[in-house]
């Protein structure tokens, strides 16, 4: 159980590490890619260049022109003629400089790209080959990775192109750095035991090798001597080399993997591809203790390296944008240098910023390479420490430190290098003060580059926090843009809570939702117009000692939008003092208050009236709904039990009070009885009026007629005057599929019916609708194919006649007579055939149509075959004649080849062709 958990943990952390260390590699490449990024390419830049330069330049020139005119007019300012001369000279110089800006920036970027692509800084720090280049790792990496596409041969080939090799090397350095660090946490356990290392050659015991060699030593046996020599050489090999050998020889023991992969192979793969998941092959070895894997520490160390590299990437990205900005505004500071003192200061600041930003990339790169140099040469730098001669003694136990400890030391040193890389820009800034500070806090880096994401996040967060208010989203986005923070979301959340609280209060004060919303909108409008709030208005009123109505206790409640809601002693809402309300209360207070109260009362009665109406309507609608429910009940109770027919008659009427009532009955008498009872209940007096109403409603009532068949019910609804209101079919089965849908589905099988255009071409009718089918039947578009066939079954003659009738069960449905649809429905209603029989008839139609189509297709095939045969015969005849003519020509020329011979040849060749 414990073993299983341990294995699970190892697998999990190996997976996490593969991601983390993979990210290190990716971030390194991102850094290099972003470093060489130029924000404006020539296409975009040339488009905006003239526009922006012109506008910025004119602004600057305007200031200069003004100052120049001022100096020319003011004798105090233009102390000497040399000042004006200087200004003119500076102006000319500035214009010349503006002309050179695009060229200068292009040149700067070219230099930067050349330095980056040629890896000049890297070469400064790595003039000699690294540990890694000496090893097989990088060579294998380069061998396998530096391939380029060759158009001529349409294939990928290896290349010695220094640029391509350099690009791959750059990528490999990222992978290498990650691997070097990972090695500190993932190594063969045997390297922890220096004594065993001495006795562990290529995975076998050195003692055994020596014994075997000694036992079989013979002057003529070179194998034994070679073994002996190798063992002796091993004894004298330095410890680091032994460690390398052990790593190279170490093989995975994954039962599921038969690749026999060595740890050195895994390192190669990791360096070449950056895929650290390869180490998962060694899970079994970790579990068995053959490989020492310090899992949590490796993840933390990898994460820290990612963090530092991320900071670098962000800095470089910000630098690219800054440089683009400086380039964009260049005409302004350059022109401003014409203006004495302040102008020169502006120009100098701009120049300083540009140069600092431009050279920043090189300092960052230098630091990165400096760190990478340490990382990639870590074994050389630690070589002394790792040698068996100088390896440290543990003072407590007196035993040697294991190599594993040194590998951990290596990992710690790599972390130290990363930490140093992180702090170095700050140290440099202290040595060479600059306006640009490198912060150690991630947020300081993100602040610059996260304004846009913060705005987007603020918008989304604001929307969520405010419950979908887009204005809140915009407010939070604005704050996000300004502060590069998401604090706006919290503010919107607080606003939302405050609003809910205020809503609660105003609800308690008797305000409806509509009123609250209206007030809020009004208040916002007033706020935008800068009018006073309702609070100020109330304060003024209190100052004047005015009451809304003398003798009335008024409670004032401040609502969500700073409106004052006034309530009387019974908590009735008697008025609102809105923000910025300008009503004058001194003279008309009483009138206003009374009017308000009166209006409130009237309004209240209006609302009551509306509410009553609504209630009545609602009860009416409920009656309809209950009627529908009764309808369903009837269906369930009667039809499902097998009743063959059921009639429902119902009507809805409005009484003298405007209230709706629904009455229904199983037949006309039942309906009338129910209606009479209802009218009695409503207080209608007996008499002509009541009778007239009953008769009228009976006549205008609707009759629902339900019929049940074996599997289906069909419902028809029509008025007394015979007008059909609609019909429906319900399939009574467990699936509950409606009969109409079932029939439609049947019709949707692309029923193939003949049309009546006389050509016999088949069309697809219906397109999924029973109505279309019925329409086709009604329109007489169903055609019947009458065919005469020969003994082979081939149609020799065929006629297409209009289909005159279809047989539905025992009922013959005439298709030629008018009123097909109503007759069909009537027959169905009257039980002259069942829905099953109708479906069956339709199916027969479909089958017949399909057969016709099949036959047509089959006949077409046969006809085509005949045509092809005839065609080939015609062609054969033509060729025969041509050949014969040719033969005749030859004969005419006195050759031996006669027409007769040519004919015979042709017949032999064509075999079975008409030899006529």
């Amino acid at each position: 159980m414990v073993g299983e958990i341990y294995k699970l943990l190892v697998t999990l952390f190996l997976r996490i590490d593969s991601i983390v260390y993979g990210i290190i590699s990716v971030l390194y490449q991102v850094f290099i890619a972003v470093a060489s990024l130029k924000m404006f390419n020539d296409g975009i830049y040339s488009r905006i260049e003239n526009m922006v330069y012109m506008i910025v330049g004119v602004f600057a020139l305007f200031l200069i022109a003004y100052n120049l005119l001022k100096h020319m007019i003011d004798a105090d300012l233009s102390k000497s003629a040399t000042d004006v001369k200087k200004v003119v000279l500076n102006l000319v110089t500035s214009m010349f400089m503006i002309m050179l800006i695009p060229i200068t920036f292009n040149l700067l970027f070219s230099v930067q790209n050349a330095i980056l692509k040629q890896d000049l800084i890297g070469k400064l720090f790595q003039p000699y080959t690294t540990d890694f280049e000496n090893s097989e790792h990088l060579s294998s990496c380069l061998d396998s990775r530096v391939i380029v596409y060759q158009e001529d041969s349409d294939s990928y080939v290896q290349t010695d192109d220094s640029q391509a090799v350099n690009d791959v090397k750059l990528k490999c350095y990222g992978n290498l750095a990650a691997l070097q660090m990972f090695q500190g946490f993932f190594y063969p356990a045997i390297v922890n035991d220096p004594e065993n290392i001495q006795n562990y050659q290529n995975g076998t015991s050195l003692t055994n090798t020596l014994n075997e060699a000694a036992a079989s030593v013979h002057p003529e046996d070179s194998t034994a001597l070679e073994k002996l020599g190798s063992a002796v050489k091993w004894l004298f090999e330095p410890l680091p080399m032994k460690v390398f050998d052990i790593v190279n020889a170490f093989r995975n023991s994954d039962e599921n993997d038969n690749s026999d992969f060595s740890l050195a192979d895994a390192y190669d793969v990791a360096v070449a591809s950056g895929d650290f998941a390869i180490f998962e092959l060694f899970t079994e070895n970790v579990e068995s203790g053959e490989i020492k894997y310090t899992f949590l520490a490796s993840t933390i160390a990898g994460g820290f390296a990612c963090y530092v590299l991320l900071l670098y990437c962000l800095d470089v990205a910000v630098r690219a944008v800054k440089l683009a900005f400086y380039q964009m505004i260049a005409p302004f500071p350059i022109m401003m240098r014409v203006v004495p003192k302040k102008g020169t200061e502006i120009f100098n600041n701009w120049l300083k910023c540009v140069s600092t930003t431009y050279f920043e990339i090189f300092s960052r790169l230098a630091i990165l390479y400096f760190g990478m140099f340490f990382v990639s040469n870590i074994f050389t730098l630690m070589g002394e420490g790792l040698s068996s001669k100088n390896i440290g003694y543990n003072l407590m136990s007196g035993s040697l430190f294991g190599v594993g400890v040194w590998l951990l030391v290596k990992a710690v040193i790599i972390l130290g290098i990363f930490a140093f890389m992180k702090k170095l820009p700050e140290l440099l800034k202290q040595i060479v003060p600059s306006s640009d500070k490198f912060s150690l806090k991630l947020w300081d880096h993100l602040k610059d580059s996260f304004a846009i994401p913060a705005a987007i996040g603020g918008f989304a967060g604001g929307m969520v926090a405010s419950g979908g208010n887009p204005l809140a989203g915009i407010r939070a986005a604005g704050k996000g843009w300004k502060d590069s923070s998401l604090a706006g979301i919290g503010a919107e959340h607080k606003r939302r809570l405050a609003k809910l609280e205020a809503d609660k209060k105003s609800r308690a004060a008797g305000q409806s939702t509509t009123e609250r919303m209206a007030h809020r909108m009004l208040e916002r409008g007033r706020g935008y117009l800068g009018l006073d709030s309702g609070v100020d208005e109330l304060n003024r009123k209190i100052d004047r000692g005015e009451g809304l109505r003398k003798g009335t206790t008024i409670t004032a409640i401040n609502d969500s939008m700073d409106n004052i809601q006034l309530l009387d002693s019974e908590s009735h809402h008697i008025g609102t003092i809105n923000r910025g309300d300008t009503r004058i209360y001194d003279k008309d207070t009483k009138t206003n208050a009374e009017t308000s109260l009166e209006m409130w009362k009237r309004r209240q009665s209006d609302i009551k009236e509306i509410a009553n109406k609504y209630d009545e309507t609602a009860s009416g609608m409920r009656a309809v709904a209950s009627s529908a429910k009764a309808f369903d009940d009837v269906m369930e109770s009667k039809l499902l039990k097998g009743d063959s027919k059921y009639t429902l008659q119902y009507s809805m009427f409005k009484d003298n009070q405007g209230k709706y009532h629904v009455v229904y009955g199983v037949d006309e008498n039942d309906f009338k009885n129910n209606l009479r009872a209802k009218l009695n209940e409503l207080g209608y007096a007996d008499g002509d009026q009541k009778d007239a109403l009953i008769n009228s409603l009976s006549e205008s009532s609707s009759i629902g007629n339900l019929s049940t068949f074996q599997n289906y019910t069909a419902g028809f609804l029509r008025k007394h005057d015979g007008e059909d209101l609609g019909n429906s079919y319900d399939e009574i089965n467990q699936s509950g599929t409606k009969a109409m849908d079932a029939l439609k589905k049947l019709a949707e099988r692309e029923l193939i019916l003949g049309d009546d255009n006389g050509t016999g071409r088949m069309i697809k009718a219906g397109q999924g609708s029973l109505n279309t089918l019925i329409n086709n039947i009604v329109a007489g578009k169903l055609l019947e194919l009458q065919a005469t066939r020969d003994v082979d079954g081939t149609i020799t003659s065929a006629t297409l006649d209009r289909l005159s009738n279809i047989q539905v069960g025992s009922y013959t449905l005439d298709l030629t007579a008018p009123g097909f649809e109503s007759r069909l429905q009537a027959a169905l209603r009257n039980g002259q055939f069942t829905a099953d029989e109708l479906i069956s008839a339709l199916k027969n139609l479909e089958t017949a149509a399909t057969n016709v189509e099949t036959e047509k297709t089959s006949d077409a095939g046969k006809i085509n075959q005949r045509l092809n045969e005839a065609d080939s015969q015609v062609k054969a005849h033509t060729r025969f004649i041509e050949t014969g003519n040719k033969a005749i020509d030859i004969e005419k020329r006195g050759n031996v080849y006669t027409a007769q011979q040519a004919t015979t040849d042709y017949i032999n060749k064509t075999k079975g062709g008409n030899s006529q």
């Binding site: 260049e49 003239n50 526009m51 330069y53 012109m54 506008i55 330049g57 004119v58 602004f59 020139l61 305007f62 200069i64 022109a65 003004y66 100052n67 120049l68 005119l69 001022k70 007019i73 003011d74 102006l91 214009m95 010349f96 503006i98 002309m99």
Partner: protein, 114 residues
């Protein structure tokens, strides 16, 4: 379109700068008024007002937008258009402020006569 855009932007910038800088320090005067005072030698009584500030901002915006529009539509190379713009600016500033200065001078004389 460019004309109106630049006109509005430059007007707003000028107006705000004048407003912010000179709001709390009544002793300071806008450059344009200084220039006009020196050029047309107004009497001491005649002082800078908000009306003059707004007018100056409008005139500046007008001058800049005219020059920008002409230059953008001419689409010359930078080394031709910038000197050209400079000359145009000098001419426009001199002439436009000349007209405005004369108007103010008449106002000043009327003030004196009163």
């Amino acid at each position: 379109m460019i004309f109106f855009l630049i006109f509005i932007i430059s007007f707003v910038i000028y107006f705000l700068v004048d407003y912010i800088i000179l709001k709390h320090s009544k002793k300071l005067q806008i450059n344009e008024f200084k220039y006009l005072k020196k050029r047309f030698k107004y009497s001491k009584k005649f002082e800078e007002t908000n009306k003059i500030k707004v007018t100056c901002s409008l005139l500046n915006a007008l001058i800049m937008s005219v020059v920008c529009t002409v230059m953008v539509y001419c689409n010359f190379k930078v080394y031709i258009s910038l000197p050209l713009a400079f000359v145009l600016l000098i001419l426009l500033i001199y002439s436009v402020y000349g007209i405005y200065g004369n108007i103010l001078k008449k106002v000043d004389e009327n003030e004196k006569n009163k």
